[in-house]
Symmetry: C2
Subunit: 404 residues, 2 copies
């Protein structure tokens, strides 16, 4: 059971022509181009003898014929707006290649999924894998609207003839493992000279809104002594974060201030309200808890000692998703067999559908290098040789699970 | 020559009914309500025998009959959107009251101005006084558009029948002094138990854009070590400002971060660009120069030592406007005569039309207290007794200049 690397690369080139934008693609979920790729995938799977279709949330699903053993494989297939050609599509094509290789070898069964909207055109992302994992209600679907103004999720599902279809649910007992391949979206592989990343865990993302309330006032006539400047309070807490987090964080921790709003936001008015969106990520629960407790202390101290009120609002706190041992070991063994010394064990700093599937089926993820670490941009790219090596390792890892 | 305080208060109450909003007013420049107040003022001045009119930039101007000596008096009459009833109108009504008192007493001549758009509906403000002082070209007027979307200044002038009128220019040789009264917009008078403020100088406002450019990247997959986070660079410089300015500043200096933009402003993306609008104010040139040099050093140091580029863009740097000695002395003497021990000499932290007139005619400003220091809000207010005391002091100061 072996991959055909040139066939996989040709499939990726073909997908790049659907919704092409410069050297990347523009294929938002449920756009005509996105639907074209989904229909193409269904056709390829049916040609292998799979039952396959697009379900009521736009997931492409398939069930291969045969008695097993069974593996589930896939990723998402839509892109971010005007973004890269491999983010998502790579994992779907690798899964398709594994299904073909299994079919040709007569070695078990690989079902393929192309999840809908991992990229979050309609929400925080992952709605396809969440639906598949039984974590998406009809009421939640009712609330979802495209961020770019193309309409509600319901409207776009109806426009594509999917409104009345069932949403396919995961069959937990069927699968030995779930495999997802993806571009790394960082520079760790490239900088260390590796070609295959085997993911140990997908980090948790803890997101917060820091809110400071003081008194809006005239920036010329209000003396420094009597000001209750919400921006100044934000600055003090932000500075504490930046100077104390390095000592408290773990070796892979990252933290980011992504947005700041000063209200009313005019140069001659002292802001009466200031907000900062802040997040940190780590795969280690103890580190997450430690950073959270410290952040809460910084905000509480400012609230108690400063002239403004300060409070910490939790937007979301996901849990780290540990990858399963057996499929991880299969990826490592395949990597060492095919490209000795080029495999790195590493956490994933980005979220992926595998984190949604991991609680239900033993899951593993494999990375290929991203040139310059660039992603979510049309210039995202991976060397052809890395794409071709990756699919060989991926298919060999699936083989190792199917034939232990 | 004496004010009629009840008449002045009644005029202010009358103006409050034109465009009333809660206890304040909504009279943006060249709105129907703004024009109604201007026409009312022209009528009052003509009733005193003045030549009076509205000129090609919506300034109300007047020339009283008589051989002098001559004083110019006034302020602006439009309001900020949904703002206070006294900001501007108070100084116009005091000027009108001085003209009436001079008329009744046969003591010289008081010409009255109600400047257009001190509040900056169309720009950074002061376009009426700048036009009057010969500092506003036709080309500059071509560029001005209402911030609230009501159209261009040209369109609104035309809609009010002012497009073809001349713009009246200041006659420098005519006047002994210019007087402007205004609400303080701060808490200095209230907190010190004073009722009359005599302004020594109007602060300069130095406005900047601090611009930081790094590399936009994924907030999960980009390690802290390799980030070029523009927000982090902004934070470092902002922290330096907040911790070092107190030691460098003068006793009346104020500094304010009014707006911050992180680009793209999403919580999962490291900002590639960050901007902060920052200003400081002082009436002392040496202090202004010292703060400017220090700010430039902080930005240059970050540019040299940090991973992002940093640069300081000057938006505007006005000059401090010193008030003239003679009319200042007249205000002080009038204050001490009418309300002994209730007069405070102080700088103005806000900008006023007097700063535009000061280089052309010896100018002075008088403040009355603002309750709670509130301004630019409909709840702005001043006690009736303070309004009535203020107009008596103001008219007496004009008398002292006319009859030295």
């Amino acid at each position: 059971m072996k991959a055909n690397p040139d066939r996989a690369l040709a499939d990726l080139y073909r997908l790049r022509e659907i919704g092409r934008y410069k050297t990347g693609v523009h294929r938002p979920t449920l756009s005509p181009e996105d639907m074209e790729t989904r229909h193409w995938l269904v056709g390829e799977l049916q040609a292998l003898g799979h039952q396959a279709g697009i379900d009521g949330i736009a997931n492409v699903w398939s069930r291969a014929p045969g008695d097993g053993p069974f593996v589930l494989a896939g990723s998402h297939i839509e892109s971010q707006n005007h973004a890269g050609w491999l983010d998502g599509a790579l994992g779907v094509v690798y899964a398709l290649e594994a299904a073909r290789a299994a079919h040709q070898a007569g070695l078990g069964v690989v079902d393929v999924m192309a999840f809908a909207d991992e990229e979050g055109h309609f929400s925080g992302g992952f709605i396809g894998s969440q639906s598949f994992a039984g974590q998406m209600t009809e009421a939640e679907i009712d609330t979802l609207t495209d961020r770019s103004g193309r309409g509600t999720l319901r409207e776009l599902l109806a426009a594509n003839g999917l409104a009345d279809r069932e949403r396919v649910q995961i069959d937990r007992s069927r699968y030995l493992a779930f495999f997802e391949a993806h571009i790394e979206q960082g520079q760790t592989l490239e900088a260390s000279g590796n070609q295959i990343g085997v993911v140990t865990s997908i980090v948790a993302i803890w997101q917060y809104r820091l809110i400071f309330e003081g008194a809006q006032n005239h920036a010329g006539t209000t003396t420094m002594a009597i000001r209750r400047d919400a921006a100044a309070a934000l600055q003090r807490v932000w500075n504490q974060i930046q100077t104390t987090f390095p000592d408290l964080a773990g070796p892979h921790s990252v933290w980011t201030a992504g947005n700041i709003t000063l209200d009313p936001g005019q140069p001659s008015i002292i802001p009466g309200r200031a907000e900062m969106l802040f997040q940190f990520r780590d795969a280690d629960q103890a580190t997450l808890d430690r950073l959270h407790a410290h952040l809460q202390t910084l905000v509480t101290d400012e609230d108690r000692t400063g002239p403004c009120s300060a409070r910490l609002e939790i937007i979301s706190q996901t849990v780290p998703a540990l990858m399963a041992k057996a499929p991880q070991a299969a990826l490592k063994a395949a990597g060492e067999a095919i490209a000795p010394g080029k495999t790195l064990v590493m956490p994933s700093g980005a979220g992926h559908d595998a984190q949604v599937i991991a609680p239900h089926v033993p899951s593993a993820m494999m990375f290929v290098p991203s040139i310059g670490g660039i992603s979510h941009h049309w210039s995202e790219d991976t060397a052809d040789e890395d794409i071709k090596l990756g699919v060989q390792v991926y298919v060999d890892a699936v083989r190792r699970i199917l034939t232990p």
